[in-house]
Amino acid sequence: MRVTPGSINIKVNADLQRSLAALGRQQSLISAGRRITEPSDDPGGAAEALAIRSRQAANDQFQKNIAEARSSLTAADSVLQSIVEAVTHGKELAIQGGNDSNDASARQAIADEVDQLLEALVALGNSKGPRGAQLFGGQESTVAPYAVTRDLVTNLITAVTPNPRGIDGPTPAEVSEGLTISTTVSGTTVFGAPADPTNAFAMLITLRDALRANDGVATRATLAGLDTALDRSTLASTVVGTRLSWMDTLDTRAQDEGLVLSKSLSRVEDLDYAKAVSDLNQIQTSYSAGLAAGARLLQQSLLDFLR
């Protein structure tokens, strides 16, 4: 084989170019800290990274929805405790007023207290959540769910009527893939249906009117209904409590999921520094060796020896 300086030049040049290009590529990998800087670096990996990012975004959103649901449910929980307390107090007043040792004026005083309780219960029923939405209004989140009718003379509440457009519409939030949870409790669950005689508002009105009428028998008769109303609001409170603890579980799960996704993304995209640096050293060594060999080869010629 005939070898000419030209052919050696081409080869030395090409080899050095190749090493230098590899060096440059390795350097940019290390400074970016990522294995994939453009799709051609790893087409499959690039598509996988997109899918993982999308799941991360969804997971972040689930956590946000959980926080949203939790803040609404926490508000409902504290209001529900007040409602349970109010109904419990109503029952205590019924027991107290049912005792026939009370005279008419004593029963009147108790009736006034029951009336205040009723006003408070209506206010509680019309409580708003942290974002200003009605807690017990269902999908009718902008209108107070309970309207009152008052006696024109005594100004006492004679009836409490729920929003005729419905207060039971579901208000779900997606808290995990395909899983929704209601962020509110409907007024019907807490206070009972309007037609139900054991409806908490109706029971308090009945109790108040019985006390005002100094009717011991009627007063005692409200006890059973008040028990049912109390059970109902206690149950609603328990349901909300259960949902809240479920939120905690889901939140933990979403956080774990977030960690898993970050790890997967890192596995797909991030650079293994130890390997990258050792690769860099290797390429550097071969580049230096190539330079040294090339330098020794190129400087020699017969001219050096012709005199």
Binding site: I10, R34, R165
Partner: protein
């Protein structure tokens, strides 16, 4: 035996020897001077003895070249030209699609669905509504921008083709010129340096458009387009290339000379560039059609859900975004981008308090129901007035009432563009419906309930929209939006990678064969220096011979003088 000889003949022999070695020395000097000249082929003075006993002569100055290696190199250079252009094009497309940083289209899509989730939880929140609208606009404009960038590549490719064609034409002309000079110089000593320049031009040409050379006895080459055999250069005549955009198909067509047929080069840069510019399955057009498919599917899917929902505000008057070509043709044949199917939808009229005034059910039968039938069905209700102006349906509600839509199973609302979120049918036209963009309260987060009432706190429709994220609606129901885009990005990525690998391979191949060529045709200084010493010695010897003959002549002349004196 007696050999005839002549003393002046010996002097002539010496003269020939001096001239021959001088020529050899000149050739060595020429080689040494051109040691670094690209495309230079080393030359050798071929010495032959002159019979009988006539000394030496230079028979020819030979150009040391291996035509087989030359042709192999041309082949590799054609493939290199193609690979190089292919790598550039794919890299540009990839730069448009480069999304791994999470700031591109896929991130926009993720955020859009997140914002819809927020809206589903807080349907009355104006901020959540504005965010959904803004993100919808951002998503649409990302599509528009990507499409525009790809179209820019397409038009750049057209310019690129023109430029390469004119460069190739320049080379064709230069080659023909050189051929003219080569033919003129044919009877003089071989025009080696002209041949070198010609071969260099052919090498440049073949990188632009692959040609197969055929040597002619007169020193010229015939250049035929690789694959099709159309002659580009034949002796001194050329067939200049021309590239024109076909107005009907939008494709760039390459032709040579007066040949009417469209050429499809197989190798060289033009092959790659023309393919990228013209092929519907090439990386560029595939990327464009992927983007259009994704944009259209997003618009259709989002609109289908949105059209059956209700906003915080209901409409008093609404005009369809899309126009049909005919009011009396069936909706399925009225030139709408989306085709309605058989089904029904309801238009619900509410009074100022939100109570139901009337509900108008509209039934659509594919291939039968016309736009005018829909208009008539709506117009029949006392509270609604429906009209058609230049193919667009307009619905107006009676004073004090508003209307909304529900439960469209016929796709008519999305096809007509009534109560939709997006307008547009591809990546370049996608935009948020101006109705929604002007007033975000029209974003349909709610759905009319069983009693046709709409509640402000209802986020059911927004949730259904958000859930489109996980619906496999593309590739015959196997891919979500993100899957589809990921596949597209992966495809561009692997095409780019393939092109880069091919380029690397082809660069190496050209280097290897160029090395072979250098081994044969390159100047070796060592070799030339040895030849220089040889020629120098031979020249000195020939000079000594002249001196000797001169002495002999002197002796003869002295002999004559001696006789005379």
């Amino acid at each position: 035996m007696n050999f005839p000889t002549n003393i002046l003949g010996s002097l002539d022999l010496a003269r020939r020897a001096l001239i021959a070695h001088q020529t050899a020395l000149d050739t060595i000097g020429h080689n040494l001077s051109n040691v670094n000249t690209p495309g230079y082929t080393r030359q050798r003075a071929e010495l032959v003895s002159v019979a009988p006993r006539g000394g030496v002569d230079v028979s020819e100055i030979q150009r040391i070249r291996d035509r087989f290696i030359d042709f192999s190199l041309l082949n590799e250079q054609q493939a290199f030209g193609r690979a190089d252009a292919q790598a550039t094009v794919t890299q540009r497309v990839q730069d448009v699609f480069n999304d791994p940083s999470g700031t591109g289209l896929s991130a926009m899509l993720d955020t859009f669905f997140q914002n819809l989730q927020d809206l589903s939880v807080s349907p009355t929140d104006q901020v959540a509504r504005v965010t959904v609208k803004d993100q919808g606009q951002r998503l649409a404009s990302t599509f528009n921008t990507l499409d525009q960038k790809l179209r820019q590549i397409e038009s750049d490719l057209t310019v690129d083709i023109q430029q390469r064609v004119s460069a190739a034409n320049g080379l064709l002309g230069d080659i023909a010129d050189l051929h003219r000079q080569i033919i003129a110089a044919r009877n003089q000593p071989a025009p080696n340096d002209l041949l070198d320049r010609r071969d260099q031009l052919v090498a440049q040409l073949t990188q632009i458009i692959g040609v197969t050379p055929l040597d002619r006895p007169d020193g010229t080459v015939q250049l035929a387009l690789t694959g099709s055999g159309v002659l580009l250069v034949d002796g001194t005549s050329t067939a200049p290339l021309s590239a024109t955009v076909n107005g009907a198909t939008g494709l760039v067509e390459l032709r040579a000379g007066v040949v009417a047929s469209v050429l499809t080069p197989k190798t060289g840069a033009l092959a790659a560039v023309l393919d990228a510019r013209n092929s519907p399955t090439g990386i560029l057009h595939q990327a464009m059609s992927d983007l259009d498919t994704l944009a259209h599917t997003i618009a259709t899917q989002v609109n289908r859900v949105h059209a059956s929902g209700s906003g915080l505000l209901e409409f008093t008057s609404l005009t369809a975004a899309n126009a049909g070509t005919s009011a009396v043709a069936p909706l399925t044949a009225a030139g709408l981008a989306d085709t309605p199917v058989s089904g029904a939808f309801r238009v619900i009229v509410h009074d100022a308090t939100g109570a139901v005034v009337s509900t108008v059910p509209v039934t659509v039968t594919a291939g039968v129901t016309t736009l005018d039938d829909v208009r008539a069905a709506l117009d029949a209700d006392a509270n609604l007035t429906a009209t058609i102006t230049s193919g667009r349906l307009t619905i107006d509600a009676a004073a004090g009432t508003t209307f909304t839509f529900a439960a469209d199973s016929s796709d008519s609302l999305l096809a007509l563009g009534l109560n939709t979120f997006f307008v547009g049918t591809d990546a370049s036209t996608l935009a948020v419906n101006p109705v929604v963009a002007t007033n975000v309260s029209f974003i349909a987060a709610a759905r009319a309930d069983a009693a046709d009432l709409v509640h402000p706190g209802d986020g059911a429709n927004a949730l259904a929209l958000a859930r489109l994220r996980t619906q496999p609606v593309l590739n015959s129901g196997t891919a979500t939006f993100t899957d589809f885009f990921g596949t597209s990005v992966g495809r561009v990525g692997s095409a780019t990678r393939d092109a880069q690998d091919t380029l690397d391979r082809q660069t190496a191949a050209v280097q290897v064969v160029t090395g072979f060529q250098q081994q044969v045709s390159g100047v070796s200084t060592d070799e030339e220096l040895i030849a220089l010493s040889q020629a120098q010695t031979a020249y000195a010897a020939a000079a000594r011979f002249v001196t000797t003959i001169n002495d002999l002549i002197g002796t003869l002349l002295l002999m004559g003088t001696a006789a005379a004196s």
